[in-house]
């Protein structure tokens, strides 16, 4: 990583898993993502995970691009160093845009397009794995999906529904007042890519996810045992 950050300069962003550095890559504004070694992990496991995730992320981004989804261009991948260099998309985060504009016509158009692109990805059996409004950069009205670190290849419709559910959950937690409108716009775009039937199936699966496992409280809210709610 020292090669990419001469003078040992501080990263522009510190995540749990990696540091991001703003760099110029052959003249192109770029982001270098370095997956950090974790001393708490067994060295062999650490190397295996960092290598596999770097490769998987590069592959997923290339596949997404092939499927017609706007993603930053992959410029360089070095599995040995666990470094991935991608194009730096200058734009505004979708989360900030919703924060500023609410469910404006412009926002609804962007979210509909996002739904369309996620639909394209799912048709190609690729799920993003961390689909939140903070992982979408909007440039000239075009939503770019970023951070494919948790993405996966899968044919399972339930995995795809989990993706959509993550998006819905991020709307609920950060933009609660516009959930319904934004979710409908997303699903409209999603149906445009996958057809009405597939979209309806995923919508039903999302509802099922909410009443099973960790979301069981939603199914049981009616049967509360005592009156006190903090």
């Amino acid at each position: 990583m020292t090669r990419l950050s001469p003078g040992g300069r501080a990263p522009s962003f510190r995540g749990a898993e990696s540091y991001l550095y703003e760099v110029a890559w052959l003249g192109v504004p770029a982001l270098a993502k370095h997956r950090l070694p974790k001393s708490y992990r067994h060295p062999a496991l650490d190397e295996r995970l960092r290598r596999a995730r770097t490769v998987a992320e590069a592959r997923s981004m290339l596949l997404a691009a092939e499927l017609g989804v706007p993603v930053p261009a992959v410029l360089y991948a070095d599995p040995d160093e666990a470094v991935l260099v991608v194009e730096r998309v200058e734009g505004v985060l979708l989360s900030d845009m919703i924060e500023a504009e609410g469910a404006s016509r412009r926002v609804l158009e962007v979210v509909e397009r996002l739904g369309y692109y996620v639909g394209l990805m799912h048709e190609g059996d690729l799920v993003h794995g961390d689909l939140t409004t903070s992982n979408v950069v909007v440039r000239n009205g075009r939503p770019y999906l970023i951070d494919f670190g948790l993405s996966e290849r899968t044919r399972d419709e339930l995995d795809k529904a989990v993706d959509v559910h993550l998006f819905l959950r991020s709307l609920e937690s950060t933009h609660p007042e516009h959930v319904a409108e934004l979710y409908e716009a997303f699903l409209a775009g999603y149906a445009r890519a996958r057809g009405r039937e597939a979209a309806e199936r995923v919508r039903r699966l999302v509802e099922r996810i909410r009443v099973m496992g960790r979301y069981v409280e939603e199914a049981r809210r009616v049967s509360t045992v005592w009156g006190h709610r903090g």
């Binding site: 708490y40 992990r41 496991l45 995970l49 794995g129 961390d130 948790l150 409280e217 045992v225 006190h228």
Partner: protein
């Protein structure tokens, strides 16, 4: 067998309730008896608003002769030892039922038949002695006794036991579950593997789990599945692959090493994500698996990296115990939370994030 921890075990209770729970009235003189019976352990604790706060922590643990926990056998064990453990807790605390202000009970989450024994006993005590009955969420018990034991104000909590594996942090009025297991719990993974390959029971000897002990002889890390999906972990694939590896002739110690490294790394990774996401500065490790020195070291190392402090309760307060139920019972009682006996149903799947935390409401 009934065993009670001596009071000296709690000398390490570091927290000051007046600082940790500033909204509650610590000038009141309140004593609460708490009953735990969600799984293996029938535990009875006594908590007080006066130092040393935890006055008793008696327990009897059901140990299956072979195989895993059988809910009805656990229940019949609990029913058999209940009276004796209650008497022991009262004796240890030096109080009688007349001195007790309220009876608290863990109503969930847990195994139905086991839960019902604790609930029945608690209802009986409450009705007979005319004491208020206080409902307690078992997971919240782990969290709050962890805070009291380590004097931690606002931690990311890693809760790992035989039946639960989750990472939680306080936000908007509740302990929100940031990530959890999608299938089996971490303790269940370790126990089942150890049992299937014949290195347990006993599962824990000298504070070390059979898998941890066996892993000490491990040299090589094998290629077994590591599954972290978003913020959740999954262990069932790892268990199957580990058992298959043993059957096909891999060195047992290597499999143990791999299993433990992968499983612990996965929960620590999710904890790390939660820490980075919430920007909290403290981590508390609770639940039966918190006794693992290997896991503690990993959590500590990860926390240090984020300049966060890591802590865990002493062993009698880390695994399932009555003291933590008494403690949250006390907090609930001071917050005005009680339940009429007639409405005190057990909730096998009662979620941590569905549990009010009024003493932190303003946090």
């Amino acid at each position: 067998m009934v065993s009670a921890a001596t009071r000296s075990s709690y000398a390490s209770l570091a927290g000051d309730p007046r600082r940790l729970y500033p909204g509650l009235d610590w000038d009141r003189d309140v004593v609460v008896l708490g009953i735990e019976s969600t799984a293996h352990t029938f535990g009875v604790g006594v908590a007080s608003t006066r130092p040393p706060y935890i006055l008793a922590n008696a327990r009897s643990v059901y140990q299956p002769e072979r195989g895993g926990i059988h809910p009805r056998e656990a229940a019949s064990h609990h029913a058999r030892v209940a009276a004796e453990v209650i008497e022991q807790a009262l004796a240890e605390a030096g109080v009688s039922m007349r001195d007790v202000d309220a009876v608290a009970v863990a109503l969930g989450p847990g195994l139905g038949p086991a839960l019902r024994v604790g609930a029945t006993v608690a209802r009986g005590l409450a009705a007979y002695y005319r004491k208020p009955l206080v409902p307690v969420n078992h997971a919240l018990g782990h969290v709050e006794i962890g805070r009291l034991a380590t004097s931690v104000g606002d931690p990311v909590v890693l809760y790992v036991s035989g039946g639960n594996t989750l990472v939680a942090a306080f936000a908007r009025g509740r302990y929100r579950v940031f990530g959890e297991t999608l299938d089996i719990a971490l303790g269940n993974l370790l126990d089942t593997f150890a049992r299937e390959v014949g290195i347990a029971p006993p599962y824990v000897v000298g504070g070390l789990h059979a898998v941890d002990r066996c892993a000490e002889e491990g040299r090589e890390l094998l290629d077994l599945p590591y599954t972290v999906k978003g913020q959740d972990v999954s262990f069932s694939g790892l268990l199957t692959a580990a058992l298959r590896a043993v059957r096909s002739g891999a060195r047992l110690a290597d499999v143990c090493l791999t299993l433990r490294e992968i499983a612990y790394s996965a929960v620590v990774e999710v904890t790390e994500r939660c820490l980075a996401h919430t920007r909290k500065r403290e981590v508390v490790l609770v639940g039966g698996v918190a006794a693992s020195p290997v896991l503690r070291r990993m959590v500590e190392e990860m926390a240090g990296y984020h300049e966060a402090r890591a802590g865990w309760p002493p062993p009698p307060l880390a695994g399932d115990n009555g003291a933590m139920i008494a403690w949250v019972g006390l907090l609930n009682y001071l917050s005005g939370i009680t339940v009429p006996v007639a409405e005190s149903r057990v909730r096998q799947r009662w979620r941590l994030d569905d549990t009010p935390v009024p003493w932190r409401a303003g946090a």
